[in-house]
Symmetry: D2
Subunit: 252 residues, 4 copies
């Protein structure tokens, strides 16, 4: 007998939370059993609702405590909230080991399939190209530059090149380093800010006579929903801590 997964959403009144509630409700194999928000007691809410999985889209100051409460309540957790450090992840991993019982937690800094795939493909391709640069493009209200996603992508490219024994990329320029962006471990990242855009990333890889471009566009937060729902379906069969949506994808 196939049955649905009962899901609670934490931070349900926020923008990501309410989009997530709608996505869970629209999925035939999931059932939304609780919308939890500021003022609610997480443990009570998930217990009373009978939730099997809780999705946390709360704020940095609340998310870690939420996850520990969920684990104490025997509920799997899918975490999209930001603010996680190596230390806070280690505490969750330790808690998971202590409670055992097949309980799982998925923490993903980015639930966008296209963003995660772009980063994975860029890292896999990097060792085969002489040059690689990253251009990220965002709306002009974004405060940081380059974006965290672009920094991670560049770091992954740099690591892949190092592993393959590649040296520094060819680059004859000596001056003119005053544009928005950064050098991340030797990979140049350019940051464009343009009214009308949302969140976009382009990885350019070059060899003599050829170019490979991997581009990713996020137009709307609904784009995160396929990744969130995938994590809900996977967390119930992946005991322990999983960090990064890429581990839930079949890219072999």
């Amino acid at each position: 007998m196939s049955s649905t997964i009962r899901v609670a959403v934490l931070g349900a009144a926020g923008r990501m939370g309410s989009t997530t509630c709608a996505a869970v409700e629209a999925a035939a194999d999931l059932e939304l059993v609780a919308r939890v928000d500021v003022g609610d007691d997480v443990a009570t809410a998930v217990r009373e609702s009978g939730a099997q999985v809780a999705i946390d889209f709360t704020i940095p100051s609340a998310t870690e405590a939420n996850v520990h409460a969920l684990l104490d309540a025997g509920v799997h957790a899918v975490v999209g909230a930001t603010g996680w450090t190596d230390e806070s992840k280690a505490r969750v991993a330790e808690h998971l080991e202590r409670v055992g019982g097949g309980l799982g937690v998925v923490i993903a800094p980015n639930f966008g399939l296209s963003a995660v795939l772009a980063m994975q493909f860029a890292a896999k391709a990097a060792r085969y190209f002489e040059s690689a640069e990253v251009v990220e493009l965002h709306h002009p209200n974004k405060v940081d530059a380059p974006s965290g996603t672009a920094r991670h992508t560049a770091a992954a490219i740099a690591a892949a090149r190092r592993d393959a024994g590649l040296g520094p990329m060819p680059d004859a320029t000596e001056e003119g380093w005053e544009a928005r962006g950064a050098d991340v471990d030797g990979v140049r990242v350019h940051a464009v800010r343009l009214r009308g855009l949302v969140a976009h990333e382009e990885v350019l890889l070059g060899n003599p006579g050829e170019q490979l471009v991997i581009r990713q566009d996020s137009f709307d937060r609904v784009s995160f929903m396929p990744g969130v729902l995938l994590a809900v379906r996977e967390v119930v069969r992946r005991p322990g801590l999983t960090v990064g949506l890429e581990h839930l994808l079949d890219l072999a």
Copy 2:
């Protein structure tokens, strides 16, 4: 003791052949020992030169006989010539099995790393997206449309969708099907012909609120050389028949 690989080039006077000769000569770990062309006896030429690997960039009517001659001479073969059918490949596989001794043959319809990677990434990503279409762009002297590479890419996307249980893509259009291109197993392929271009392919993958684009540009035939040299280095340690550059890449 590290040593170089001794390489013969068949079809050495042709455009791909002469570019290949130059690339072999420029590689520190390879040694060009024979330039073989129309009128030369392949078996004699490779025996006298002591070649370990031969690269065949000849014509459809000659390439299969060349490979059999190479195998009889105990020489590994890397084949870029076109015109190979399933039957001709089967005959080579059978010949390899018969001679044994660790001899290998690599046949690749495309030695372009960016083209091969684009196809691989598109196939891997396809199961995660609602929509996928292919746009290929070439110089206007190209006779066939869509290109073979684009057809293969579309077929791989279609197979990946089928394996993942995805149904037909959303598409409300009912008329207006008179543009250059094709429907390959349900994946639409658009063919642009434009003076100034060489060979380019773009795979577009879409979900609600997001897009992933994998684009590949081949500007010049030197772009095939990294793939050809990779095949030379790999064929000596891969007994039997390998079809497709992708099997020589580490994409896991």
Copy 3:
């Protein structure tokens, strides 16, 4: 003494209408004096509100009668509703001539600045290139293909080529004409349908060794507002009928 322009919006409850109301309210030099919708009498509504300009985003069956009523009431009109034929435009032009008095009407099939500029630039550039093709990309719920905008762009390119005495474009392909799209006066138009996209157009122009690409993305209907507001500000000083936003732009 500088003063604001008093504006009425017809079809105010519709999606374009309500977006327009918000845009008028947000503009310092405009004042929203009437929201007119189904059931309201247009003439009465604009007279009582003292509107100087009315913006019509109603439906094809209503828009022409609305414009005649506005002209009788002495109110300038900016029209974004569709369904206008050459005949209906001619009747408005005649009406304008009859009433005189500096009254103006602007009818625009597209108020998107990027779309209108892309079409203008493509038409101006076309005579200088051997090849030109159009790729339009839309969400998969769109019923028609290619889009009206793409058809207009292709027709403008074809006309520019004809005026410059250019012959047919180079194209060696003879078969493979089964993709979504059309041949518009000899200019090939490709239509991509992809979940996640909204409305996009790309014009590719090619010469030996070079390419010019003009791309336009419409992500949201707010993108039409700068064009609508420009038309409101211009219609009061442009007596008679103006068809097309391009005539309000300074592109000389």
Copy 4:
């Protein structure tokens, strides 16, 4: 009676010069009458050949003297050599005024039609957009960054914004300014260096909900030939000094 224009090429043995000789020879309405190079006397060469127009693709140290010699010989000049200052242009203008007789000189820093059109279109569009940034992409052997073309484009965008009374672009970023590129009069220019590329420029213009992208690709120096030949045909009917290919184009 229609007749051909007799053309001399100065710097005929150089890369641009020899490409130009081939282009002149291939044009039905032009006749190549002299290939002039180092060691030849320009005045003698053009007089003896009966050249009506001379194309100068020599070096900075020679080009100005060449043009004065051509004017003394009564020959129109098309100049693609670099190294021209405001002062050297002023001396040519003065010389032209002195000799009169309908003699013309065209000096163009860039003969690429797609590059010149991209710059013109970007400048025309700039006043209609909130945001504008430039991305230029070149091969990694290029020493300067950003490219001169990108700097000119950005300066033209900045001037157009200033003329239209636009203020600074929206930009919330405060740190992270260490990428290859520059801020040119408030317009951000990003410089990508990638093996496999030649010379490319992309102008991105953004408004709420929309984007206009103008991209230009130069793959090969043959791309300059249509512009060079256009200048040859135009210089004979444009007395005086013309600086910039854009003045020879019909963009009204």
